[in-house]
């Protein structure tokens, strides 16, 4: 049994149509008009639609043409992650004015632990007002005794909502609520629960824990608690997250790609991003995975376990490329991801050979330069070649000689090529 939970008050803040709203705020001409944000100019999937567009039926995940059919005046905007990140950080700053316990759950959602607040509703109203005044953005707020219910509450009224679920209301709220409305129960799990005859949270909460455990393993018990509206997960403030378990980057390509050399080049770029991040956190990993998504959204991941720990871009790349070589691609590729996991703290083991020392120093130098002058100011020459063309141009070769080590500098040059497109940057 779960121990009795201390009484808590949790606020969940969900920015409404976040990407689209940020775009509308930045460009007054978009205001009041149906807007859809797409990943990149070559992409067709709608990542967020403004409420004006939603009114016509445009939804996240639709493609451009479907969306246009529903709403012929729809304006497409290519997403700009930097803008969203900035708005997100500002919103978090505002929330921190209410409680130090603010957890950034995703780019457009946050949990705030306001346990002990006398007037939680008034607090929520003020938070909403500040976000609207300072950022010009609307949000929905849910207030409840735990994170699970707070998130559920904020989902109940959109846009610009404020819903409170009190302890006493919990059974009546959950009784007829479909299980897939709960955060964490998606299509697959929903299907498996339906097979057991469980459709609503009320049914889930009354279901036999032992059967659930048998069917779903360790999460079985947790599912039952979810059905009863119990959740003891704490609000984890930024900077206090548990140690990283993996360092990964993935990227939806500007357009579907089937050329192996182009895919490999993206893998190199992602490996570099992973390497940089791992080195910054002083982590090395022993497992490397490669994720591929086809245009039909079929997604799979393959991994390889090494017998040593690494955060060397080149090693990560070599392994990820090796994994790719073992896959028979069935179609073009939409998304590529590279992850380093099974992490250990870099043991600060010194290298025996001069070349290894130089190699590590080179990576550090690249990291330092890129930190100073921006990402990919110094990058791998392979990332600079034009598609299908051979060697880097003479200028690049000349520039690359700034770096003394001949064997290594062949691979490094000052460069510009960088993949575009929506990027998912995660340190879990």
């Amino acid at each position: 049994m779960m121990p009795p939970l201390p009484y808590r008050t949790i606020m969940h803040v969900d920015m409404n149509a976040f990407f689209a709203s940020v775009e509308q705020r930045c460009n007054p001409q978009l205001r009041g008009k149906p807007v859809a944000v797409i990943g990149s100019s070559g992409r067709t999937v709608v990542t967020t639609a403004s409420y004006e567009a939603r009114a016509c039926g445009v939804k996240t995940g639709m493609n451009k043409y479907e969306a246009l059919r529903l709403c012929k005046d729809l304006i497409f905007v290519v997403g700009d992650n930097r803008k969203y990140m900035d708005a997100s950080l500002r919103a978090l700053e505002i929330l921190k004015g209410f409680s130090p316990l603010v957890e950034a759950y995703s780019i457009d959602e946050a949990f705030v632990d306001i346990t002990g607040a006398n007037e939680p509703v008034e607090m929520a109203v003020r938070a909403k007002r500040l976000i609207k005044e300072d950022l010009g953005l609307l949000c929905s707020v849910g207030i409840a005794p735990n994170k699970l219910l707070a998130k559920l509450a904020s989902d109940m009224q959109k846009p610009d909502g404020l819903v409170v679920i009190k302890d006493a209301d919990v059974p009546s709220v959950l009784e007829d609520l479909p299980v897939n409305e709960l955060c964490g129960i998606g299509g697959k799990l929903n299907g498996r629960l339906a097979a057991l005859g469980i459709r609503t949270c009320g049914e889930l909460g009354r279901f036999s824990a032992s059967v659930l455990r048998e069917r779903f393993g360790i999460i079985g018990e947790r599912l039952k608690f979810m059905g009863m509206g119990d959740d003891d997960s704490p609000v984890v403030p930024m900077g206090e997250e548990a140690n990283a378990k993996s360092v990964g980057h993935s990227m939806t390509l500007p357009a579907d790609v089937s050329s192996l050399s182009v895919i490999e080049r993206h893998i190199l770029k992602l490996s570099e991003m992973v390497g940089v991040r791992a080195r910054r956190f002083g982590l090395k990993g022993r497992k490397i995975s490669l994720t591929i998504r086809y245009p039909d959204f079929f997604t799979f991941t393959r991994h390889r376990t090494l017998s040593f720990y690494t955060n060397d871009t080149h090693a990560v790349y070599a392994i990820a490329k090796d994994i790719l070589a073992a896959i028979r691609l069935k179609s073009a590729v939409r998304l590529i991801g590279v992850t380093l996991f099974d992490l250990a703290k870099d043991p600060r083991q010194l290298a025996l050979f001069g070349l290894d020392v130089k190699k590590a120093a080179l990576l550090n130098a690249m990291d330092a330069l890129n930190k100073e002058f921006g990402d990919a100011s110094v990058t791998w020459a392979a990332l600079m070649e034009d598609e299908g063309k051979g060697k880097p141009s003479a200028t690049f070769r000349r520039q690359s000689c700034i770096l003394k080590n001949r064997r290594l500098c062949r691979k490094v040059a000052l460069g510009l090529w960088r993949p575009t497109g929506a990027r998912n940057v995660n340190v879990k």
Binding site: Y309, I319, A351, L352
Partner: protein, 368 residues
Amino acid sequence: MKLTIEKNGFMKVLQRIQGIVEKRNTMPILSNALIEATNGRLNIIATDLEVYIKDSATANILEEGSITVNARKLFEIVKEMPEETITINTGKEDRVTIKSGKARFTIMGLSSKDFPGFPLIEESKLESFDNALLKELIDKTSFAVSTDETRFNINGFLLEREKTKVRMITTDGHRLAFIEKDSSKNAPNTGKESVLLPRKGVMEIRKLLDEREGDCLISVTQKNVTIKKEDTVINIRLLEGEFPDYKKVIPTDNDRRIDTDKNMLLSSLKRVSVLSTDKIKGVKFNFSKSKLILSSSSPDIGEAIEELNVDYSGEDIEIAFNARYMIDVLEVMEEQTAGIYLKDPLSPGIIRADNSNDYTYIIMPMRL
């Protein structure tokens, strides 16, 4: 092809080749073994294109011929056969029937024509090599071989022969094992010969050395190394990478010498490393007059500390090593006393047995 063969002898050769059969399914025929009935013997060949193994057992050949069959399945079938005598014959479309008592298996083979040929061995080039010596060379270096596939130039054993000296060197970039022996028993080498042997092949050779008494025959060419012991022949394709210049990293000015009882240090290290953080076990070594304090700590668990008496009269020095690297070498040392030679906390340390320079182990410290 038709033959009868005695179960035990057949099983032994089948077992020996299992390690070499290709497990990753790049070329289906490589998961097969070639069996060939000729001249009163059953020859069997397996390869992953890097290591080739050939073995043979006496058999009663009724009809000569050859076929390839899945090595794993053949071994499993033979192992479970009820009777001592096994009959094998090939049928139409590369089918192979294996019978013993009332049990009968028919499995699909592949034509032996498509199987890679065993490299040609020049019998005249084979020379005798001391079995025990080769074993020692491998055992005292194998733990330091890099397993990092991306670094093919250190992914194996460097074997050097110069006049009567024979050397084996391995490294993983953090430590290096070097052993040099006099092989006056073997024919002296005229020039200097230096080859890089892949790990997998050497480990197969090592198994073979244990199995049978007596010296082996060895030949080294530009591309291959061949080892022959009785009926078993192993041929390994050499690695092409350039092994780093190991002489450069063997320090010559490590003046601080500490002598310590090997077993005492080994068991103490094993204890202390239990509490070192992470998967890479860093242990701190604090040397002072006649004393060594080993310590490790983990912020989540606690700390361990142990004091040892050592023979040392120099200045105090504090240095950290991966305990695993230290344990590996102490475990293969036969001598009572281990000598540790240090310079400073950031320079490589040397571990040697007593006063001998035959076996030298270099270990790079961890930053404190």
